[in-house]
């Protein structure tokens, strides 16, 4: 199987911290695979995702050791904007991911940056709104949406860029039961489409569809052996 992500002997320490939050992490992600990462708060799950998508060290600083490759290319040799064309990340808080006045503008932002043709953008917006079940909200102000709807739009804004790898950093955290159900359905549909995904999650009920569950504990990433 093609390895989309390869992480070898990854060590990471935040600036000013005495210990490594990631202490020799090894990880692979194959095409079409869905991997869930669980672990206690502060165990370094989000840090790990941030390293994979380049937020660390491009935005947040720290001492990093080891290699992270996407399609065999070291991310240290790639620009953040270049990584963003291959990896899409959805964060926990939808409020800090939406910044446009309407849903349509929000979704169009990514493809516009990637120089996608106007006609193609229109077609993609229509398609992606259908994927997340928000077709009726195309011209709605993003501030008027519920938490779950905002998270769906944040996901749509990333999906519309058609990245090959999707990262989800505790996307269920701020949602109610209905919101969780809708997001789960979207994630399951993405899995059926063959998308490669890494999900960081607390709640085991939200990751039932994952191919592998891994646990990040004491800086090490290992196969999850049950609760």
């Amino acid at each position: 199987m093609t390895k989309l992500i390869e992480v070898e002997n990854l060590y990471f320490k935040y600036k000013g911290s005495k210990y490594n939050i990631l202490d020799g992490v090894n990880f692979n992600l194959s095409r079409g695979e869905v991997v869930a990462i669980v672990g206690l708060s502060g165990s370094g799950k989000s840090t790990f995702l941030n390293i994979i998508c380049g937020i660390i060290p491009y935005i947040y600083n720290g001492k990093i050791k080891g290699t992270v490759k996407i399609w065999g290319q070291k991310i240290s040799s790639m620009r953040l904007s270049e990584i963003s064309t291959k990896i899409g990340i959805v964060f926990q808080d939808p409020d800090t991911q939406l910044f446009s006045p309407t849903v349509e503008d929000e979704i169009a932002f990514g493809p516009e940056n990637l120089m996608v043709d106007r006609e193609e953008i229109g077609w993609r917006i229509k398609k992606i709104l259908k994927v997340v079940g928000m077709e009726d909200y195309r011209y709605e102000n993003t501030n008027n949406l519920s938490g779950g709807q905002k998270q769906l739009i944040a996901m749509a804004s990333v999906l519309v860029m058609e990245p090959e790898i999707l990262l989800f950093d505790e996307v269920f955290a701020q949602l109610d039961k209905e919101g969780k159900k809708r997001i789960s359905q979207v994630l399951m549909n993405l899995k059926e489409e063959g998308k490669s995904m890494i999900l960081v999650e607390h709640d085991y009920n939200n990751i039932k569809f994952a191919d592998r569950i891994m646990e990040l504990k004491d800086g090490k990433l290992q196969e999850f052996k049950g609760r």
């Binding site: 904007s81 006045p101 043709d117």
Partner: protein, 244 residues
């Protein structure tokens, strides 16, 4: 007449605002300023601006305006005295005139700016971009404007948090209240910076500045009506300036 139903280009609105604010700044006599203010209000109504809503939102700003007006009136010593206590003159006809002039001028600028609220921030950004302004700069301004309500929200949250700890801000003396506000400053600033940082990460991860150029899904196109409004606005502004 409800112009907003016809879809006026945001660039047309920007020109109207520019003309009205220029007139508001250039003219110094109260009669002209009142005429410009009435014209501004009329145009705002034509664009179906929620004037009362805007006034409510700007309530705190209006108090500052009134204080500045009063200060200007008090410190202007020219003209006939209107309010005198002992040997000190607190208000003169000239002071009152200057104060009114200031308040009318500010109202013209504020009411004319409300016309822009009938377009979305994305439309205004696109207007600037099609005028040749780099997208990054226009986007930066739009994000800056978007951040004002976030800052307000942060302040409100901090005030609620402090009140839930049993401090009744309305009932404590002003000196102590200022002291409490100084405690709030750090968490508000840090909270806002943290939100700004997360927002900028989300923007970066959506390919912002991935290439030297970018496409735009939204394209503004001016209609004949837009050209007529722009022509009329500029001509009227020039005539108004020459005649008065």
């Amino acid at each position: 007449m409800r112009i907003e139903e016809i879809r006026i280009d945001p660039r047309t609105k920007l020109i109207i605002v520019l003309c009205l604010s220029t007139l508001g700044i250039v003219f110094k006599d109260i009669i002209s300023l009142v005429k410009i203010l009435l014209t501004t209000i009329f145009i705002s109504i034509c664009f179906h601006v929620d004037l009362m809503g805007s006034i409510k939102k700007l309530k705190s700003l209006l108090y500052i305006l009134i204080v500045i007006t009063l200060a200007q009136s008090i410190f202007s010593s020219d003209g006939n005295p209107l309010v005198t206590i002992g040997k000190v003159t607190f208000l003169t006809t000239e002071g009152l005139y200057k104060g009114l002039e200031f308040i009318f001028r500010m109202m013209i600028i504020i009411f004319s700016a409300t016309i822009l609220t009938t377009s979305s921030s994305r439309e205004i950004v696109q207007g600037f971009v099609q005028w040749g302004l780099p997208y990054e700069m226009a986007f930066m301004v739009a994000i800056g404007i978007r951040f004002l309500p976030i800052l307000t929200e942060e302040i409100k949250d901090s005030l609620i948090a402090i009140q839930l700890r049993g401090i009744e801000l309305d009932k404590i003396p002003i000196k102590k209240r200022i002291h409490v506000y100084s405690y709030l400053f750090t968490p508000i600033v840090l909270g806002t910076i943290s939100k700004a940082e997360r927002l900028s990460i989300a923007i970066e991860m959506r390919g912002f500045r991935a290439y030297d150029s970018r496409t735009s899904y939204m394209v503004l196109k001016m209609s004949i009506l837009d050209y007529i409004i722009i022509f009329m606005s500029i001509v009227t502004t020039i005539i108004f300036y020459i005649v008065y």
